[in-house]
């Protein structure tokens, strides 16, 4: 079923407009600025969630604006997949924005941070709610470019260099996306996301288009060997921005890949032409390399960034395996990783905020000083490792089963190996923080526990609570939505 409703564009437009409003008012009142920023994310979230009933009634909401950007036309679309990812993104964005209102107090150029954060939100929501490739591309660029401002926020030489690298790669990615969009349009005459894929011939051009998508989305999603901007950019950005980048923005790459795989090329084509093999291989390399390099990093944010690379590999693998369960795993991991990585970055940010310690080896005894923060960190880290009742386990489980469905035991082993590696790089941190001889020593120094503002603590705890509890709810709507999204992608494919 399909209904047309312009309400679909509201989650995009409201932040877009609010970004302008924030820019206008921020010089007058910082309170207004902060609350408007939070409002933007909240509004986005509510405007998405209000469609819950409609969506769950198997209805896709669309809004078409063919007069924009002819001959392609702009269109928006809210289906299961979009709804799920949009909800996740806007919700985490809301929490991170609340967090940042406290975190950013110590930073400079706050007046620049907030409008661009909200603008990036608008871009991300636009990406998720877009109904065709050109709209997708449009908002993709908006998001990427405004994220640049978040990355170089510190404006140090390192940040500028990282930002430049990000920018160049982003532009290359954008251009290869554009190329693919053009190629698809030339072949099929339209670029809207169509259940079951567009009628494309298997030609060299189609393959080039696929490669273009792979490069474009791969750069954003941090796929090896296109990931090199990621470990540079994340450490230099302010922690809330890292959380947004790593937790949410990377997902748009994977999201795009899902859209393209299932709704542009279509399942049948992907199965015939064996492009999935390349995708799988790249994903496997990504998983391994990300996890392995993370072990060697001492800067906490770099370690988390490499961990993101590895985790994005899971999602890419889930997309590339082309089985239902693998896709459920991938979509669910979008959700899971968004929450886990955001809370990890927020916790790391809180620690840097109150102690200034960026190096992993310096985290001795932090568990005593900041028990709540470190608990959040621990919960998220264990979830990354895939400890059962936590959210990270479920996606791994589904992914592994999907890999088995595709007949590749090797990928299951890889997943497990990567889990072990996750454990190897997260555990020493937790261990240092809570246990060991140094801890008792550190505990003697009387400090107030978790000397953090509520606006920083609450979002972290909320994220951790979701990680901890969502699988224990009697009705796991996240998984339900991921499953429905997958089935909708698959059933229409047949």
């Amino acid at each position: 079923m399909q209904t047309t409703s312009v309400a679909v564009i509201l989650p995009v437009m409201v932040p877009l407009l609010l970004a302008a409003v924030i820019y206008a008012v921020e010089r007058r009142s910082w309170r207004l600025r902060n609350s408007l920023s939070v409002m933007a994310a909240l509004a986005s979230f509510l405007l998405v969630v209000q469609h819950y009933r409609t969506i769950m009634a198997d209805t896709t909401i669309v809004a078409n604006f063919p007069q924009l950007l002819p001959p392609l036309g702009v269109s928006f679309r809210l289906d299961y997949l979009g709804f799920f990812v949009a909800t996740v993104v806007s919700f985490v964005w809301l929490l991170v924005t609340i967090y940042s209102t406290a975190y950013m107090v110590k930073e400079h150029a706050k007046n620049r941070y907030y409008p661009f954060s909200v603008l990036t939100l608008a871009g991300a929501m636009g990406v998720i709610l877009s109904g065709d490739l050109i709209t997708f591309f449009l908002f993709f660029e908006v998001m990427s470019l405004s994220a640049y401002v978040l990355i170089i926020h510190e404006e140090t030489a390192v940040a500028m260099r990282a930002g430049y690298r990000y920018l160049i790669l982003t532009i290359i990615g954008g251009l290869s996306l554009l190329f693919s969009v053009i190629a698809v349009f030339q072949q099929a005459g339209r670029v809207s996301f169509t259940p079951g894929g567009l009628p494309l011939e298997i030609t060299a051009l189609t393959f080039l288009a696929f490669l273009g998508f792979l490069v474009g989305f791969g750069i954003k999603a941090g796929m090896v060997p296109l990931h090199i901007w990621l470990p540079e950019a994340h450490p230099v950005a302010p922690s809330p921005a890292s959380a947004l980048l790593s937790g949410l923005m990377l997902k748009t790459g994977a999201f795009g890949l899902i859209r393209v795989t299932y709704q542009i090329f279509g399942l049948e084509m992907m199965q015939i032409v064996m492009w999935r093999d390349q995708l799988q291989l790249l994903a496997a390399i990504t998983i391994f390399l990300g996890s392995a390099v993370a072990i060697t990093q001492d800067d906490i944010k770099r370690r988390l960034a490499y961990s993101s690379v590895g985790q994005m590999g899971y999602i890419l693998l889930g997309v590339g395996l082309l089985t239902e369960r693998a896709l459920i795993g991938a979509i669910f991991h979008i959700f899971a990783h968004a929450f886990m990585k955001s809370s990890l970055f927020l916790a790391a940010g809180a620690i840097i905020y109150s102690t200034g310690k960026r190096r992993v080896s310096e985290w001795v005894g932090l568990g005593r000083k900041m028990p709540i923060t470190m608990s959040v960190f621990t919960v998220a880290a264990l979830s990354m490792v895939g400890v059962p009742p936590l959210v990270g386990f479920v996606s791994k489980w589904e992914l592994a089963l999907g890999a088995l469905d595709a007949g590749s035991v090797a990928y299951v082993l890889l997943l497990l190996l990567s889990s072990l590696m996750n454990f190897i790089y997260y555990f020493p941190l937790i261990q240092n923080a809570f246990f060991g001889e140094g801890v008792a020593h550190a505990a003697q120094a009387k400090t107030r526990r978790d000397n953090l503002p509520l606006a920083m603590l609450a979002p972290m705890v909320a994220l951790a609570a979701v990680i901890l509890l969502i699988d224990l709810l009697p009705y796991n709507f996240a998984l339900e939505l991921a499953e429905r999204a997958t089935y909708s992608l698959f059933t229409t494919a047949r």
């Binding site: 690298r165 160049i168 090896v224 060997p225 090199i228 391994f288 390399l289 392995a292 390099v293 072990i295 060697t296 264990l382 490792v385 895939g386 400890v387 059962p388 009742p389 386990f393 479920v394 489980w397 589904e398 592994a400 089963l401 088995l404 469905d405 007949g407 035991v409 299951v412 082993l413 497990l416 889990s419 072990l420 590696m421 454990f423 190897i424 555990f427 261990q431 809570f434 246990f435 060991g436 001889e437 801890v439 008792a440 699988d471 224990l472 709810l473 009697p474 009705y475 796991n476 998984l479």
Partner: protein
């Protein structure tokens, strides 16, 4: 509607709630202790209720939506039995811990995680499918970590690392097995699925081996045991008791479920599969290795707890041996099955008891090195007595608990050796005997070293035992004696648990009927190893064997795990990082290459300018040359014209003389062939070229 099934949740949630309560009450020591102990005992009560209800009314509790795959609790009789044992040991341990840990730091952490691990263990035993089992397995693994590293010194942290890395790896291997099982059998329930696995995409042997490895880590099968001798000694005595008494059993329980339930056929009419037989055969040898290896290593130890840790490994080898026999015998394996369960039960009680007793010693002396102990019998008579009982029981002296189970295992071995006519199995009996001898030896070493002789330490701590510790010790000793005195009852209980599983052990009653425990021959059979053990001990003492440090080449860890792990990490750190660095390099180089390309293009720009200039110069040159050529041509034309005139004149002259040659005029260049248009065009084209080449003339560059 409250259903009886909800009873299953109580033993799992109660300790969790207790843990939370302990955490909240961290300011009130006394209250905390009360909460811990009462929680443990309430849990025991709940488990007892479950055990009581279960045979008649098969309890079942399923939560479809929890954690993706759904959680289910459906304890088998065996599971309920082990849950009962675990809860019992847990209760005693918590009671003991209150007194033992009183002067320690971080009591809150210890107590709460003790309860959480207990909950995890109970969850494992009560789980209805592997998925749930795995979930609680992991909870248990992680929750026990703070118990292991409680002392937080370097040694403890290292041991904790070893414990946790092994545990996590084992967990992941287990997960792999579960995944394969779920995928090929379509269900994770603990039900017979062998017929579904056969002919599937995954080799059932693979699944079986993976499960063995996964659970084997917890059970301490050699060569997967390496964490045990690290973790047991450093943990506080109550924690060790829990680890050895309860957690080790989860591994055993898992292996038993896999071999006896999952990898058995649900269709009795079908051909007996070779898989359990082969796996059982292999397991027998692994178990023998574990028995002997553990015993030898125990003999070499000089630290009491480490000795007990190896002893624990060795004893689990006995259990596994019985399991192997049971699998090997298939449907006729009722007896070894019972033996395995019985011995596991015994071992749980004995090892927990022994660790607790040694804890008491430690409380007084502050050391557990054999070289610093001795003569404790005078100081701690009750402890010495309890330890004696426990030790003798482990040795297998008739009238104590270990006797019955060992006897049963021996029967099982005999049956297995006879069953398929595998001649190699004839060696199992003697090797088993050797194991027993070694056991006796190291236990004598232990008891002699600790309680007899004279004290070699520096004095005693002032800590008072209080009244709780003796009570707990007494409870353990009493239990051991009670079981030893009435083994048939216990055996029947165990046998019931065996029959209650899905496997049909047809000849169970018959087999058990044939077992004669209280005969003279069995007494003698029980005494022989003791005698041999004493001899060996004396010999070893004479030659001072096993008092020095343990040779490092005996350590599997040093031989296998450490190189592999370090190799892998080195691979990660060096090569992958180098690859990563190479990638970054590549990009940077790409950047610099494009920069240099740009520079080249810039140079091209300059060259373009020069090119224009050269072209212009060339044009001038060409014009000059053309002018020269023109002049030359003009001269040539002139001379040609001159010559032509000459010729014409001559021809005319000749024609005047000779008319015959008039028609043969030479073919000459015909100007009519050249149109004016083409001349114009040629000129214009030249001009176009000129335009192209001289547009940016030298001046205007």
């Amino acid at each position: 509607m409250l259903s009886l099934d909800l009873l299953l949740l109580v033993p799992i949630l109660l300790p969790l709630c207790g843990a939370a309560l302990v955490f909240l009450l961290r300011a009130h020591r006394r209250l905390q202790e009360v909460v811990v102990v009462s929680t443990a005992f309430l849990t025991l009560g709940a488990v007892a209720a479950v055990y009581h209800v279960n045979p008649g009314h098969r309890l079942e509790l399923i939560f479809i939506h929890l954690v993706d795959f759904g959680l289910s609790f459906r304890p088998t009789h065996l599971g309920a039995l082990f849950a009962l044992i675990s809860a019992g040991i847990g209760a005693l341990v918590s009671l003991y811990a209150m007194s033992y840990m009183r002067s320690s730091h971080s009591q809150t952490r210890f107590s709460s995680f003790l309860l959480v691990s207990l909950s995890g263990c109970l969850g494992v035993f009560l789980a209805g499918d592997y998925f749930t089992l795995f979930l609680f397995f992991e909870i248990m693994t992680f929750a026990a970590y703070p118990l292991v590293i409680h002392d937080e010194d370097d040694e403890a942290m290292r041991a904790g690392d070893s414990y946790l890395y092994m545990g996590v790896t084992g967990g992941l291997v287990l997960l792999f097995g579960i995944l394969l099982l779920v995928w090929s059998a379509g269900t994770a329930d603990i039900v017979p699925v062998l017929d579904r696995l056969q002919g599937g995409a995954v080799n059932p042997y693979l699944i079986a081996i993976i499960f063995l490895i996964g659970f084997g880590v917890k059970a301490g099968l050699i060569p997967l045991h390496v964490w045990i001798p690290h973790a047991y000694p450093v943990a506080p005595a109550p924690a060790t008791a829990l680890l050895a008494g309860v957690m080790g059993k989860t591994g055993f329980y898992g292996i038993l479920s896999v071999l006896a339930v999952t990898l058995s056929s649900s269709l009795p009419s079908q051909e007996v599969s070779a898989l359990p037989i082969n796996i059982g055969f292999a397991l027998i040898w692994v178990a023998l290795l574990t028995i002997l290896g553990g015993a030898v290593m125990a003999l070499l130890q000089n630290n009491v707890k480490r000795l007990l840790a190896y002893s624990s490994i060795s004893q689990m080898g006995y259990v596994m041996l019985a399991v192997g026999c049971a699998a090997y015998l298939g449907a006729k394996g009722g007896l070894p099955y019972t033996a395995a369960v019985f011995h596991a039960f015994n071992h749980a009680v004995l090892k927990a008891g022994l660790f607790i007793m040694m804890g008491s010693v430690y409380l007084r002396t502050g050391s557990l090195e054999l070289s610093k102990l001795g003569g404790m019998a005078k100081v701690l008579p009750l402890t010495a007595l309890a330890t004696l009982v426990a030790t003798l029981s482990v040795i297998g002296v008739p009238g104590l608990s270990g006797f019955g189970s060992k006897k049963l295992i021996q029967y099982g071995i005999d049956k297995a050796a006879a069953y398929h006519g595998e001649p190699v199995l004839a060696w199992v009996g003697p090797l088993f005997m050797l194991g027993s001898v070694l056991t006796v030896t190291y236990l004598i070493k232990l008891y002699y070293g600790v309680f007899l002789g004279s004290y070699r330490g520096r004095g005693f701590s002032a800590a008072k035992e209080g009244s709780i510790i003796p009570a707990v010790l007494a409870a353990f000793a009493g239990g051991i004696v009670a079981i030893g005195l009435f083994p048939e009852r216990v055996i029947n209980m165990m046998a019931r648990s065996a029959t209650a599983t899905a496997v049909d052990f047809g000849m169970m009653a018959e087999q058990l009927g044939a077992v004669k425990l209280w005969t003279a021959s069995s007494y003698i059979a029980g005494v022989i190893p003791v005698a041999l053990g004493v001899v060996v001990f004396l010999a070893a003492r004479r030659y001072r064997f096993g008092t020095g440090p343990v040779p490092c080449w005996l350590s599997v860890e040093a031989l296998l795990y450490r190189p592999v792990t370090q190799g892998f990490l080195r691979f990660c750190c060096n090569y992958v990082t180098r690859v990563e660095g190479g990638l970054c390099d590549l990009y940077d180089r790409g950047g610099s290459v494009s920069h240099s390309v740009f520079r080249r293009v810039k140079k091209f720009d300059d060259m373009l300018g020069e090119g224009y200039e050269t072209a212009q110069r060339t044009t001038s040159l060409v014009v000059e040359q053309a002018r020269g050529l023109e002049q030359g041509l003009g001269q040539a034309y002139d001379s040609v014209g001159q010559a032509a005139e000459d010729i014409t004149r001559r021809i005319r002259n000749e024609a005047a003389g000779d008319n015959g040659a008039a028609g043969q005029r030479p073919e000459m260049w015909n100007p009519q062939n050249v149109t004016l248009g083409s001349l114009v065009v040629a000129a214009v084209m030249l001009m176009v070229l000129l335009v192209l080449y001289t547009v940016g003339s030298r001046i205007w560059q």
